[in-house]
């Protein structure tokens, strides 16, 4: 039975590099997906591109490609990477230089983009479409229109499939869905078509498998309830899916690598960052996680069977990022005796100072670190003899100046707090780019691609 083996090489901008290289060296995979983009990374990349038209991609792609390409070329592995970010063409041009430097030419790079809808956002609205906020229900973007920093559609695998069919050895994309990095190669290899009903469950299975592995270590022992029994977690292996033409898949990791893959790690990830498990909506299909079953085969091998779903939706998710104030934050730590009482005293001190300075807060939050910072109201503040307690003060304001005053007032506790007040380097004020999650008609998004030949 035909199988296609695909692995995950990165889950975010800053992920560790060694597991990707080790996976490539193992030669166990035919394709590797690399995700570097979070929901609002595009706003940051847009800003980089505004300052320098030759920037706007994830800069890590250059050192990563320098080390990966010699290995992937030798082992016949094709990489699909969204490191193109806001400027996939420039990213491809830079990677082309690397290819030449390493004497790996000729190679073909598929370049996929067109996810940036900001340039024609108002044209779409003029045709009657409203960008309703999926979190708050607000009907349209009028209240934030002049503060929008990015608007990118989560596009699908269409053009990844096209460029692989055109002979691309490597694909660099903009904001495709993380999932499409995996669905693309599977659709290309198995020849499935979106509009043919007989492929609906297979594409949904690919969407499901993409979800399982797209977050790298998160299904192979990272962030896991299995943390105590994960083998040599410092040598963690990133996940690999063996996808079979009957629509079943085995989730595993490179032989000899550390970490753990079992039914629990796969469950953890199936249920991770989703809403309705019967309708996991992706641009390429809708996965139904309520039908599938997991079978533990041997150690670190879990078979996923009975994957089903529905055909792809007519709308794409769009992440609109808009500027929305500033956050100033500070932390001070207090040793016992009376650690909690000292922190409470200091909390009162800063609140009184804020009253005096008249900061106009949108929101102010006080946490007692080690007591209720993570638990919030789920934890009672017990009056017991803590060894140490931290005070965290965070405030959101409309102006930079006020957020800076929050940060600064926290630093004043260094010398005016109770005895033993301890501190480290203060944090910088950060501008807020808020997320306005919405939908856009698929047909309205002008996706585009090209094949760049490196000779």
């Amino acid at each position: 039975m035909k199988k296609v083996v695909i692995g995950s090489g990165s889950a975010f901008w800053g992920d560790i590099f060694d597991p990707a290289l080790e996976m490539a060296k193992s030669g166990e995979v035919q394709y590797m997906g690399f995700d570097h983009l979070a929901e609002l990374t595009m706003a940051l990349l847009n800003r980089m591109k505004e300052k320098n038209p030759e920037a706007g991609y994830i800069p890590d792609i250059i050192p990563w490609m320098k080390r990966l390409l010699p290995v992937t070329t030798k082992n016949n592995i094709k990489m699909i990477s969204d490191a193109g970010g806001a400027n996939p063409v420039q990213a491809a041009l830079e990677v082309a230089k690397v290819i030449k430097e390493l004497n790996l030419a000729p190679m073909k790079i598929g370049v996929v983009g067109g996810d940036d809808i900001l340039p024609y956002l108002d044209e779409i609205r003029a045709q009657g479409w409203k960008f309703k906020n999926l979190d708050t229900g607000e009907e349209d973007i009028d209240s934030i229109r002049d503060r929008i920093a990015a608007a990118n559609a989560y596009t699908g695998a269409d053009l990844i499939v096209k460029e692989l069919a055109n002979g691309a050895d490597l694909v660099i994309t903009g904001r495709v869905s993380d999932n499409a990095l995996y669905v693309g190669p599977l659709m290309h290899e198995f020849g499935w078509k979106f509009d043919d009903p007989k492929y609906v469950d297979l594409i949904a299975a690919a969407v499901t498998v993409g979800h399982i592995i797209e977050c790298s270590a998160c299904v192979s022992g990272g962030m896991s309830n299995m943390w105590k029994i994960s083998e040599r977690p410092w040598d963690i292996g990133f996940p690999i899916a063996e996808f079979y033409e009957n629509g079943e898949a085995v989730i595993t990791k490179p032989k000899g690598s550390g970490g753990i893959v079992n039914q629990w790690t796969v469950k953890e990830h199936l249920l991770y960052e989703i809403v309705d498990p019967a309708n996991y909506m992706m641009p390429d299909g809708i996965g139904d996680f309520t039908a599938l079953q997991l079978v533990e085969e041997e150690r670190n091998r879990v078979r996923v069977i009975n994957m089903k779903g529905k055909k792809r939706p007519d709308t794409l998710k769009v992440c609109i990022g808009f500027k929305d104030g500033f956050i100033g934050e500070g932390q001070v730590y207090f040793p016992g005796p009376d650690a909690l009482a000292k922190a409470q005293w200091a909390a009162k001190w800063v609140k009184e100072r804020f009253k005096k300075s008249g900061i106009n807060f949108r929101e102010l939050r006080i946490d007692f670190m080690g007591v209720n910072m993570l638990h919030g109201e789920a934890a009672a503040i017990e009056d017991r003899d803590y060894n140490e307690v931290g005070l965290r003060i965070a405030g959101r304001t409309n102006t930079y100046k006020e957020a800076e005053a929050v940060r600064r007032e926290a630093t004043h506790l260094w010398t005016m707090g109770p005895v033993g007040s301890s501190f480290g380097t203060p944090m910088n004020v950060r501008p807020v780019v808020a997320l306005w999650p919405s939908l856009v008609p698929r047909d309205a998004v002008r996706i585009e691609s090209q094949l760049m030949e490196v000779k």
Binding site: M369, G376, A379
Partner: protein, 126 residues
């Protein structure tokens, strides 16, 4: 019946989607799943987390995985980049939920402990 923390009976992991925080609650056995479906209600979860959960709580069953998907709407202070929470993406919500107290029979608690032991035996490196 005995009062125990939910963590005796289930595993949990959580994350974010905009201002939604989601918790995958994985029962350690099928029996426990059937039981948790009855006792873990949206009202209880909302009360447990308190005023940080401004929107609705929804619970979706995932029967073949013996799991519940728990959705907390408008609960991350506007989303990861806006929130004043230290835990911007709600990663702690799952483990925090495991601190909730539930009533359980002695038999079910033994079943949960046996499941823990079976996992440990099967996967632990000797």
């Amino acid at each position: 019946m005995k009062k125990v923390k939910l963590g005796e009976l289930a595993f949990a992991r959580s994350g974010d989607k905009g201002d939604v925080s989601n918790i995958g609650l994985m029962a350690k056995t099928k029996n426990i799943y059937d039981y948790l479906q009855k006792v873990i209600t949206p009202e209880k979860v909302k009360e447990y987390f308190g005023s940080e959960v401004k929107g609705a709580v929804e619970i979706y069953p995932v029967p073949h995985l013996d799991s519940l998907e728990i959705i907390l709407r408008q609960s991350l202070g506007g989303g990861a980049t806006c929130t004043l929470r230290f835990d911007q993406t709600g990663k702690s919500r799952g483990p925090v939920l495991l601190g909730m107290e539930v009533q359980v029979t002695e038999e079910m608690l033994e079943e949960a402990h046996a499941a823990d032991e079976a996992i440990r035996k099967k996967y632990a490196v000797s």
